[in-house]
């Protein structure tokens, strides 16, 4: 049974008061989520009982720590439905996972003259690594446009894929629009074209059930910190054949088989891509987070967020001067509400509602090209997770109301009216 009030007790930080005793209303979950007590306890338990460097030690602590660490790989393999643990690589975050690919696919896949296809709704983390690759190779980067309903334009995507398109890298769910892209549909196209399909699942993995094998992509990346886990852990899931073919990324301890004064050979997968002492404690705690999320149930998470989003949308209707981004249909963009208006700048909104303990994000959300496309320099974003409540939505809406009043009534009445009348 999904009981949000019971769930909230799992998060110590949700008891926190902001300023003079305002309860924290945390609606910045797309940036990072809060961590349940079990995850924090997992860190404590590791450091108080098992801490040792892994893989290399014969002693008891090292054996225990290694087992705990490698068990998480198995857990993630199951969670994301990969083929084997050889396909699960631990990185720092989604960003590093994608950069790893941009460096390693470079040598084995990309030649001068090739093309990479992205979309207009990508996060900087799925744009800049490819720009960096373009600095090393003479390649072209293209962007699949979005439609007026802020969905991917699949027809144009199909046309943009050519024989030169070696890589298609695409977000599963936009961190601004909330749009969920149809990866299976795209995978059919890329497979037929022999292009490599990379999926940025930073915003989807925390909120919906994903099967790596069913999606049909070649690589998938996501971050622990956006799904109840600690900061400092990212995942790269990759097809074994490709991971085997690709050269290593970082060199050092763990990733080698043998090193001599002349050269080296690489370790087996997945260790080939894990150089140096890993983020052992956080990987183990991420395992606890996965257990926790699975106990809550991804379908429950999805449904709860959908309900919250619907409720918030209904409430937001009162602000008829607000521009809300993303697909009209709520089922297409659950969990994220991004908005702006020409009177009160998102920064000012965020500052004002912060006074009521409400945490949202204001800015470009690391998606400046998308902002450009939407003809706006900054937007405000509220993003939900399963521990948020309708009551928190009410607090958020009331705080927003104050913000608009403050600016409109206090000083910019005519501007606000201007907006209204322009509509």
């Amino acid at each position: 049974m999904f009981d949000v009030n019971k769930i909230r007790k799992d998060f110590k930080i949700l008891e926190r008061k902001i300023w003079d005793n305002k309860p924290l209303v945390y609606l910045d979950n797309a940036a990072t989520t809060q961590k349940p007590n079990v995850v924090i306890n997992s860190l404590v338990s590791y450091y108080e009982n098992y801490n040792a460097n892994i893989h290399r030690g014969v002693h008891k602590l090292a054996e225990e720590a290694t087992t705990l660490y490698e068990d998480v790989r198995q857990k993630i393999k199951d969670f994301i439905d990969a083929n084997s643990t050889a396909e699960i690589i631990f990185t720092r975050n989604t960003t590093e996972s994608i950069n790893l690919l941009a460096y390693c696919l470079d040598d084995s896949i990309i030649k001068d003259g090739d093309e990479i296809l992205l979309t207009e709704m990508e996060h900087h983390s799925n744009i800049v690594p490819w720009y960096l690759l373009r600095d090393r190779r003479n390649i072209t980067i293209k962007f699949t446009p979005i439609t007026d309903n802020h969905e991917l334009d699949y027809n144009t995507l199909e046309k943009l894929i050519t024989k030169k398109t070696k890589i298609v890298s695409i977000t599963h769910k936009s961190n601004v629009l909330g749009t969920v892209n149809d990866i299976q549909r795209i995978a059919k196209i890329t497979k037929a074209n022999n292009s490599i399909l990379i999926v940025d699942a930073a915003q989807s993995a925390p909120h919906m059930k994903i099967s790596f094998q069913d999606l049909g992509c070649d690589f998938l990346a996501f971050s622990s910190h956006k799904m109840c886990g600690p900061t400092g852990v990212g995942i790269l899931v990759g097809k074994k054949e490709l991971l085997e073919k690709m050269p290593p990324f970082l060199g050092g301890g763990e990733m080698i088989r043998k090193v001599t004064f002349d050269g080296f050979t690489t370790n087996d997968l997945p260790w080939k891509y894990e150089a140096g002492t890993p983020n052992i404690a956080d990987v183990i705690a991420f395992g606890t987070a996965i257990d926790y999320i699975e106990k809550i149930g991804l379908e429950n998470i999805y449904q709860h967020e959908l309900k919250l989003t619907e409720y918030a949308f209904k409430k937001l209707k009162q602000f008829d001067f607000l521009h809300i981004y993303g697909p009209k249909e709520i089922t297409k963009r659950a969990g994220i509400i991004t908005f702006s208006n020409p009177v009160v700048h998102p920064h000012d909104i965020a500052t004002i509602i912060d006074q009521d303990g409400v945490a949202i994000r204001a800015g470009h959300h690391c998606a400046q090209p998308l902002m450009k496309k939407l003809s706006v320099s900054a937007t405000a974003r509220a993003s939900f997770y399963f521990y948020n409540t309708p009551e928190e939505v009410d607090i958020f809406i009331n705080a927003l109301n104050k913000a608009f009043d403050y600016f409109a009534v206090g000083a910019c009445k005519e501007l606000k009216q201007g907006v209204k009348s322009k509509k």
Partner: protein, 152 residues
């Protein structure tokens, strides 16, 4: 660190700031651009382009464009209003003093900064200090001939 007392919104959004925000100064194009720079706050996307027209050592006119929150827009507007007619040295002194105020290092020094005093309330909202200083840092960079600047 927890639970400092609530800073008052009215400290941040003084009437005079909102007035500058609503009707910013310095939006007319210049006849001649002697110095210019673009500034941005890379973490929120606020952008400003600042151009200066000088005669000898005197700032004749300031032009600003870009987009930003009420604080950065108002601060830019005040900059245009304050610096027009000042010598470069005077303008630099005002800039320095404003930065000192924001970073709490005036050491009791008092300088007449007119409307700018209204920005003092921003100090209670530390993340917004960048917004207030963006036009000023851009101004400094324009003078030294850097074309790009960002605040952090």
């Amino acid at each position: 660190m927890q639970n400092q007392s609530l800073p008052q919104l009215d400290d941040l959004y003084k009437e005079i700031i909102l007035e500058h925000y609503r009707k910013p100064h310095g939006r007319e194009p210049l006849e001649k651009i002697d110095y210019q720079a673009e500034g941005m706050n890379p973490l929120c996307g606020d952008e400003v382009k600042l151009c200066l027209q000088l005669q000898d050592e005197q700032i004749i006119k300031v032009h600003l464009e870009g987009h930003g929150c009420s604080i950065s827009v108002a601060s830019g507007s005040m900059l245009a209003q304050m610096l027009e007619g000042k010598t470069v040295t005077e303008a630099q002194e005002i800039t320095k003093h404003l930065k000192d105020i924001m970073h709490d290092r005036t050491n009791g020094k008092v300088v007449d900064i007119g409307d700018l005093e209204a920005l003092e309330g921003v100090k209670k909202f530390p993340v917004r200090i960048k917004c207030a200083l963006l036009p000023w840092t851009t101004f400094e960079e324009a003078l030294v001939g850097h074309n790009h600047v960002e605040v952090s």
